[in-house]
Structures are given as structure tokens and as C-alpha cells.
Amino acid sequence: METPPNMIDSDGIAISQAEVDRFIAATHSEHLRGIPPTFLTIYRKSEFDLLNDLKVNWRYLLHAEQEYEYFAPLSLDKEPIANSKVVDQKERRRRDEVMRFIKTETDFVIDDKLVAKGRSTFVVREPVGDA
């Protein structure tokens, strides 16, 4: 199994205007004015930690689906705390590969208030020899 080093290091990052500006510049967004709806992707460390716990081979990992549900506006200078859990896991074996489907849910909390929920689906297609 290979885990790319330094893949994500979001602990301790508050939502600053500089981070928002950098995100908007990186996404070439022309019409977003506030904190982008997908900005919470920065806070996926707890999700990636779960995938590491599941011994996912990152080179075969594909992000299949993402959903965000927003309950309250995000605010500058606050750091969302992300708590992720695996909500479903399936495996399908074929002759030459093993396909794993992993669904996670992440609660994003600011000041003890649930501000958003993230739902992710990942697919890992590992050749049988590597699985």
C-alpha cells in the first residue's frame, strides 16, 4: 500500500480571507463572492485518516460522489472541526480486480454548532495481485 506523503494538512487552519482568496484563484472562480461552497474540502483530513485506517491504496482511489448540506453560513476567522465516519462499505470481486465502495459522512462544526454535513463516496479499484 502506498500513502502519498503530506497529502493533506488542514489541522489548525481557520477560514481566513487569504485562504478564501487563494481557493477562488485556484479554482478560477469568477462569480463567487463569499466563502465558496466547496471550500470545506480543505477540512477533509478526518476523512482521509479514515481511508488510511481502512488501508486504502491511494493510487487506485477515485472520488466518485460528493455532497454538502449547509445548515448555517460559514464565517471568516473560524476553524471548522470535521468529524468523519464510514457509513457504508461494499466490496465486489471480479476476476482481475477488487472494487471497494466506501461512503463517509463528515460533520463540520463551528462553535459547537453543526454548520454543514459532507457525504463522500470513494471507489478503489485494485488489481487482484495488489489487493
Binding site: 469568477e30 466547496t38 474540502t41 493510487r59 460528493q66
Partner: protein
């Protein structure tokens, strides 16, 4: 605003430089997005691929163009990453108002297509007037 109404479309063409900038900004430094050698030799891909979340960000920009943040609140946003996208490929992003429920919740279907017309990402945004 009515059901069936098409959104004003946008086009985005991600570059390798953009993938590197996005990897730094999003903290998603999976090498399949930034290292051609890794993508080819280790992951069996033709080369680096666009972050799914970057494609979702393009669709978020499409939604913001058509539903300005000053007037609309995004309640829920879902994307499915159906086919990998590659840097240098123009992604045509468009959408259609799919439903408006009695409470005023607007459901908008959105998608990004590659130059072959294949959907690489599709999704749904749920919005409400502020």
C-alpha cells in the same frame, strides 16, 4: 425563473498549473493530480487527472453566475464524478432548473462535459431565495 429554464453556461479549461495550485489550496496533494509519472506508472492513468472537487468548484461557479449569492442561498449541493477529466480539456458547464417546490426550493441539475460531449461531472444544487 421557471422549470425547464436553461442556465447561462460557462466553460473552464483546467491546466496542469491550475491542478498544482488547487492541490496546494485544497490540501489534496494526491499525486494522481500533479505527478504525470505517478499517474501513468503507478495508477494506470494516461496522465494526471483533474480533481473531482475542482470540477465541482466549476459547477459552483456556474450556479453562482445564475443564482447570485446576494440573492440566493445554496442549501445543498451534490456532484457525481462520472468520468475522469484531463488538463487541457475544455469543460462546458451548463444546467437546467429541474423543479421548484411549493416552499420555493429550487432544484437545478448541472453538468460538465468534455469536448467529446461526455459528462464528466453532474450534480444537483438546491437553492432558496434569501
Amino acid at each position: 425563473m421557471e422549470v425547464g429554464q436553461d442556465l447561462q453556461p460557462i466553460t473552464r479549461t483546467p491546466t496542469r498549473e491550475q491542478l498544482r495550485a488547487y492541490a496546494e489550496s485544497s490540501r489534496d496533494r494526491n499525486p494522481i493530480h500533479i505527478d504525470d509519472g505517478f499517474a501513468r506508472d503507478k495508477a494506470g492513468l494516461p496522465g494526471v487527472i483533474v480533481h473531482g472537487m475542482l470540477s465541482m468548484a466549476f459547477l459552483a461557479d456556474l450556479v453562482a453566475l445564475n443564482f447570485p449569492e446576494a440573492e440566493w442561498e445554496l442549501c445543498r449541493f451534490r456532484a457525481r464524478f462520472r468520468k475522469v477529466a484531463f488538463p487541457g480539456e475544455a469543460l462546458s458547464c451548463d444546467g437546467t432548473v429541474r423543479d421548484i417546490d411549493p416552499d420555493g426550493l429550487v432544484q437545478v441539475a448541472v453538468s460538465a462535459k468534455n469536448p467529446a460531449g461526455e459528462i464528466t461531472t453532474d450534480g444537483v444544487a438546491y437553492l432558496r431565495r434569501k
